[in-house]
Symmetry: C2
Subunit: 196 residues, 2 copies
Amino acid sequence: MAAIGSEIERLIQLLAKLPGLGPRSARRAALALLKKRDTLLEPLAESLREAADAILTCETCGNLDTQSPCAICSDGRRDPHILCVVEDVADLWALERAGVFRGRYHVLGGALSALDGVTPERLNVAQLLDRVKLGVDEVILAMNATVEGQTTAHYLMDLLGDRKVTRLAHGVPVGGELDYLDEGTLSAAFKARRAL
Amino acid sequence: MAAIGSEIERLIQLLAKLPGLGPRSARRAALALLKKRDTLLEPLAESLREAADAILTCETCGNLDTQSPCAICSDGRRDPHILCVVEDVADLWALERAGVFRGRYHVLGGALSALDGVTPERLNVAQLLDRVKLGVDEVILAMNATVEGQTTAHYLMDLLGDRKVTRLAHGVPVGGELDYLDEGTLSAAFKARRAL
């Protein structure tokens, strides 16, 4: 296409690789960037540069931060005796937004999947077992409620032996309407009903 | 939030300003970038830097390119006597993808809108009239089929006086099903029917 120079074309192709952006929305994003040069294009270029230079993977827990051990692992106020195991950094972020957990995390880097060839060796399982040996009272398995997530949780539960292992509760999402929930969730919520 | 460092937080905020990305998808995009450092983060930072340094607005037509006049305006094989007026660079790109037009463009930079305070002075209207005076046989008004677009087209038609002015045809989109079309489009397609 003569009208789009190779620089813009390359920018569009790279933007289209981001999750949530297809070829069409990547073009719109590129145009928005080029129109808002001072308020968007320059700051984003700068921010990406800084991120590329500064962000590390925490060698202890697998979190992303500018330091390793990360801010959570080096925060003395957070209980090192409770480990919350998550599949992905995004899950860690989600739990931090909820602000409900004051222990430490362990990021597996995925979930077991025979289909995608994800074996225990490709996840941070060995590191988890090493950390648990250093004195952990409770391991919270906060995997996704998917087949892969639950398979991973069962696998870890077997490995962790007679330690205290817990998982997140299943039930009706806060704000959720029963009518829109799947049978599995409703059935789990019903079985786990509590006295008022 | 302690878990997300200020660098990542800033990256997410900037990504969320892109059209098509909300706060949630901006977080997913930031995470994808940080995970694919060599294949995505570094190249995108580089590409944005290049775009910021190299991309100009063509002083003749308003297109975006690394040169001004742009590649289209300086292409001797493209007919300078036919001008296609579009609202936005995205529309120019769309027409170039269709590959149907071999003349030159003029990008207005928007459409007239009393509601948004877009007056003719805020669009590249004066430059259009200057270009038309230099010898143009036909002006194609390729505005969007919206109220603002059509208002702009009528306004320009009045200004252009007795020159040959055309607009794009309205009708059934290729591949479109009648059942899903609005009454306005159907009515326009019906009135403009052609002999087979």
